[in-house]
Symmetry: C2
Subunit: 145 residues, 2 copies
Amino acid sequence: MANKGGEQPGREAWRLMAELMFSPQTQDRFHDACAAVDLSPPQLKALVSLEPGQAVAMSVLAKAWRCDASWVTGIVDGLEQQGFVRRRTPDADRRVKVVEITKVGEKAKAKVLDRLYEPPPSIAKLDDEEQRVLRDLIRKVREVP
Amino acid sequence: MANKGGEQPGREAWRLMAELMFSPQTQDRFHDACAAVDLSPPQLKALVSLEPGQAVAMSVLAKAWRCDASWVTGIVDGLEQQGFVRRRTPDADRRVKVVEITKVGEKAKAKVLDRLYEPPPSIAKLDDEEQRVLRDLIRKVREVP
DNA sequence: TATTGTTATACTCTATAACTATA
DNA sequence: TATAGTTATAGAGTATAACAATA
């Protein structure tokens, strides 16, 4: 889509980013990543949201993923079958089950992110200095405080 | 996610953009936009992909949307029921049906894009000049040749 | 009794196959 | 016969409701 008359710079930047991110090419890459580790799209999203060494309760995952607890059960079942995650029951409260990513899961996640975070070829239209400026600006938007 | 050791600037920029775009907040805004015009997520995606004055055949939509023709039928049915699109059969070939967005559909699309293209509040961490630089860099990435 | 997770069930999204109309 | 679109049907993805175990 071309430029819109009177569009504010910040708004246009956001629009162009959205168009990049939701392009068919980007979606294709997501599906390729799924195929590479033999996971469905929702399973893949779940896997990449898990951090090594952080055992997190199913109920917490349901909130983080904005889905029902029953859906978490199914997703974790699938990841567990592939050996990507492990369920544990903490002694403190035997009702809850915590999920943690395994070494195998970490490898799969790395493989996936290697693909997903690879910028599109058109990034090369920016020289090194421009890429650094772009990075710094987005870093600033992302800053915590 | 924080910075990764040795990550190339272009790659980090892309990663940070992806994290912004696929954040739960951004997804929430998409669902809000759906509710605002009473459309399901796939119907909304379909609507925003239609340009005023461009009557396009169902088969072409199927390719553009990367889905089966039968799915296009259902989506267009839904949009037509709300008066957002219109089907026409060109005299040249009475097998095909072309879809075009209506005035009502254009209004709904504008309402949706007004929400979707609104940058997140954190864009204000950049001053006006920085926002222009960001916009120009992403424009450059998006340039056609 | 209240809470965590699972199972059973139903509803939405999407594809494949069979069908109708036109070319 | 081949092609565009629709209908019928089946398979994923996701939610709600009923249930079991623990607190």
